[in-house]
Symmetry: C2
Subunit: 637 residues, 2 copies
């Protein structure tokens, strides 16, 4: 993707929201249409007075209904009854997130995490044996990775799977209380089989974390011998999903239970793997599971769009306070403060929607291809981590703003915002804690950077120091250059917006590389150096994602063939870009990227764009194409 | 209050958390000790699987228990069995907020809003007749102000109370669907009598909004004739409180039902009031109810402290990821990113705690005094509005950060954070929407400003324009002065911190006055001028509160006689002040108040203060003095 300057035409009085929806539906429009057709007439929201058990039963029934419709096979290989449509499967999950988030998570656990792990980490025998029953939901299962003692740090998992040569079996065991598998979806009530991540041990020693299939309940729903199942109980939200805990007391499973695509154990206990390096193998295995993170990002994006749809529609009906020279009371969305609460968030939702489509396309290409492209896989993993962090934090902040924008009405369950808020709240810390994920992003970028500036030999170092000096000079020049160009803050100067964000990204990364290099010096306290730069690291990662998201918007816009939609979205893109700049204008000022006057002009332009887009707010939320039944807040009736 | 420079001494290895608690308990320590003694041994949190009805019954029982203990009489006049301790009553409510927020709101509705309105707006006959039964909870009541169509804009309430001279009665009526009283606490289940705000109409015409006592249920709990009661249903939180809706169909109440302190109707229908101007009368009546807002601020502050206590304690137990050169995995709170999530929020909670004590002292003086001090009352109302907005937004953001800092565990109800988040979420929009409240603050400041710069006659205008020019010059000088002083960003230079915040406040306000003055020009579109400046207005109000909070911290610190506590809190104050500056460093840079290098130094100093305070994080949360049973999260066991 690269940005191109777009000169926006005049905004027409009316923009076609159907054309907008078609553009947003994108490549997987038919999948999105299918889910709308299947569930779009129904208000799926739970009764708030249900007990936890009633809510879980309701969601399990809905999941069965989904399975019966066949949509749940999208992401699986066609040779076992699937449809080979990985991008479609992510779109399908993201669509469910508009309808009900417990249903989305239940489906995500069964067909994404559990089924996805069997597909990605298992081999043909596993696929033949399990995939049909997984797709049909006859075999509900768990993805048992997280432990009480280790969430983000999966490599440190304590559960063991020790091969017993004589018996030809693995012994799966939880050696400590902190080895307990925790927060596991499908575990408390429905799950029968679990993909358990454990340290694989053979007579030759440990081989790192691998995944095995371990039965946890029999056909009658009773826990299997040696498996202790407990319930995580009530959560802030997502109470239709039965999260639980699993403890294994020397549970024996056959040798074939090992999902053996990336590591196998022969009957005699000999370990083998196509990837020799243990760390590389571990990250390769985790990397195949990237779809889960991408689905969470897509789902968080959907929930945010639902909340914005409700709040924007309410903001155009609700009036409060009279004003001199105006008839009646003022419509909430006519207040600048109200526009500021909702419209930049709406613009960011548009940006993330287009960026998400780019990400899903990448996923689809990488995972549909027969051969493995390491560079593409690494890029995908980094972007998936970054998009997950940025999109879920956007959900947290924007849904909160929507709740507040609806006042007391926003606090009532009948208006749907409380459920959206409570259900999405965990997204920032599950499927990888956002802070940890942004560090992964930054580390990935640093690796690329190191590849670029050379390794640490003397020549490389001299070259690096020289570059550093050049960089400092270049910074002043670049800053002046950027500053000079920005004479008139044209809201539609996409090229300049791209440059601002790209320049920030590069500068933050170069500075970070210099700081972290100190960790390699003799006598350096590597942790102290790293830790002191942690906020810098997180900023660099965010800046990278911000720029990538803007480019994603540009790429989406390039596919648009409706002039009115193009004119409108050009403004929306500018509002996104300038909101990002405004929020971090401290940085742009500190680094000479903007003068004080320019920074003030950015704020003024954001206000102008809010005013310009305000008449199109309804069109923009209509463009999301969310069926009315799913955003049927009582305040909108 | 005024700031003084404090030179901090060395931090001792251990600071006495009991001395810290004594300082924080402040003037109403005995009230706080009483609530701890009464409820501190009990875990009051609701069972998450209760139905709404079960939860409500539980809270009503707890409220009865409170009433039996007599604490609920604190804020009422002694001649009717109260204790004349207004400051004590606010402290008592804020203490309940640590224990359970539904209980706090139920108590706040009964004894603060309902009882408070009878006390403040009624006269002796009302007090004699009702206060004893209100204090004892024999007469549960409602504060029926908000309507479906009008929340923040109370003056536009549509409910009418029309005096019928022949019958000597008022007819209370809801003329439209939007006149329905909405979100009314105690209405759906328990309330028997309601203070109803309605447009008072006599044969001579309308007199604006007044309050009347209207029975809504009989002794058997049946709705009174003409009163239609409905239920708001489930909410995001606070489900122990029975919020409902009231519609009146020509309900007749005797003439004596009018709470007639500020406006009365004689038997012949003649209206009289000690305050002639209708608008002044309305704001005087509302002004007497300021205690509600102050109680919400105090309660939001308490809930935030509970959340921080849980997250900080967990952050010191939980380890994740190994680091080179370190034994075992790193404790979460040793990561800079984790310190950044929690410690500036902790510092702000300290600042708000001390500022809240100042506010309660002001309230106590203003409302305990026999004569009315208009200027003091106005200042109190402005600060109450500002503190309510800033403290409740702090609760929303900080509790969210605490939830995320505890990862998946923070999402489980057993760890208490979900309830704290859900219960406090409405605080930002009830007892006045925060955005509307900050506008009140700014308008109050502008009124003062206008008094200062003179009225709008020619002479005043010339003077104003001259000042404007002087101001511009002064700005450059001041900016240079501030910049020059900041050679070394001494973290303990309280005077400089105060100057930075005071200068920002004054500059924002002066600029705002200039912008809004245009609204008075001939042919100006007053609403457009006002609306274009709305973000400026909100910034000015926030800046005012930020500076006032810092000064409140300084005033609290001046009462400290423990050297270790003083040394510690000097750093905490600096962290608060510099976090505020850092968050708004775009403004300080744009206005030449900080150079780029200084702005970067502020960020570096915030990081250093986080590192310096990190070993004292436990002491700081212990200092809040929250009984263990109230923060008994399972992850801390």
């Amino acid at each position: 993707m690269s940005s191109t300057a777009t000169v926006s035409s005049e905004l027409p009085a009316k923009v076609d929201s159907e054309a907008l929806r078609t553009l947003l539906d994108g490549r997987w429009a038919s999948v999105r249409a299918d889910v709308r057709a299947q569930l779009g007439q129904r208000r799926l929201h739970p009764d708030p007075d249900w007990t936890t058990e009633q809510h879980r039963a309701y969601i399990t029934d809905l999941a069965r209904e989904l399975a019966a419709s066949g949509h749940t096979a999208l992401g699986f290989t066609s040779e076992h009854g699937g449809e080979d449509d990985i991008g479609g499967s992510v779109n399908s999950i993201s669509m469910l997130a508009y309808a009900d988030l417990s249903l989305m998570v239940k489906a995500g656990v069964q067909w994404g995490l559990f089924g996805g792990a069997v597909q990605a980490l298992g081999t043909d025998a596993h696929h033949r044996k399990y995939l049909p029953a997984i797709m049909s939901f006859e075999l509900p299962g768990c993805f048992a990775m997280t432990e009480t003692g280790h969430g983000s740090n999966v490599a440190a998992a304590e559960t063991t799977a020790t091969y017993d040569v004589a018996a030809g079996e693995f012994v799966v065991h939880s050696p400590t209380p902190s080895a307990r598998k925790d927060y596991i979806g499908n575990a408390a009530r429905d799950g029968r089989l679990a993909v358990v991540f454990a340290q694989l041990i053979t007579p030759a020693g440990g081989h790192g974390v691998h995944a095995l299939l371990v039965p946890i309940r029999d056909a009658d729903g009773r826990p299997c011998p040696g498996v202790t199942i407990s319930d995580c109980g009530r959560k802030a939200g997502l109470n239709g999903v039965d999260n639980g805990r699993l403890v294994f007391d020397s549970v024996r499973v056959p040798r074939e239970a090992l999902l053996n695509k990336y590591g196998d154990v022969a009957p005699d206990g000999t370990y083998s793997s196509p990837i020799e390096n243990e760390s590389a193998r571990f990250f390769t295995m985790l990397g195949t599971l990237v779809r889960g993170r991408i689905s969470v990002a897509g789902s968080a994006a959907s929930a945010t769009q639902s909340a914005l749809t409700i709040a924007v529609r309410y903001g155009q009906r609700r009036r409060q306070f009279e004003a001199p020279g105006r008839d009646g009371e003022i419509v909430l969305l006519d207040y600048l403060s109200h526009q500021r609460k909702l419209l930049p968030a709406l613009a960011k939702s548009y940006a993330l929607h287009f960026a998400q489509e780019e990400l899903v396309r990448m996923l689809h290409e990488v995972q549909s291809g027969g051969t493995r492209d390491e560079a593409a896989q690494r890029e995908l993993e980094g972007l998936a981590a970054g998009m997950k962090a940025v999109t879920t934090w956007h959900a947290t902040h924007a849904i909160q703003a929507c709740r507040e924008a609806c006042g007391g009405a926003g606090y009532l369950v009948e208006n749907l915002l409380p459920q959206l808020k409570a259900d999405t709240d965990v997204f920032t810390t599950f499927e990888g804690d956002n802070t940890v994920l942004l560090q992964l992003v930054a580390k990935g970028l640093l690796t690329e950077y190191r590849d670029h500036v050379g390794d640490l030999n003397t020549l490389g170092m001299i070259k690096f120091i020289t570059e550093q000096v050049v960089d400092t000079i270049a910074e002043r020049t670049a800053a002046r250059g950027l500053a000079q160009r920005f004479k008139d803050p044209a809201p539609d100067d996409a090229e300049w917006h791209h440059e601002l964000l790209a320049d920030r990204e590069e500068h933050l990364l170069a500075g970070l590389a210099r700081r972290l290099r100190r960790a390699g010096e003799p006598d350096a306290d590597a942790f102290a150096v790293f830790n002191a730069a942690q906020d810098h690291l997180l900023s660099a990662a965010s800046a990278h994602v911000d720029r990538w998201v803007l480019d994603g918007f540009t790429a989406g816009l390039a596919r648009c063939d409706d002039d009115g939609v193009t004119a409108l979205l050009t403004r929306v893109r500018a509002l996104y870009a300038l909101s990002v700049v405004e929020a971090d204008r401290g940085w742009f000022l500190e680094h000479g990227r903007l003068t004080a006057g320019q920074a003030k002009a950015v704020t003024a332009t954001v206000n102008e764009l809010c005013a310009e887009l305000r008449p199109y707010a309804d069109t923009l939320v209509d463009g999301f194409g969310i069926p009315d039944a799913w955003v049927d807040a009582v305040i909108l009736r």
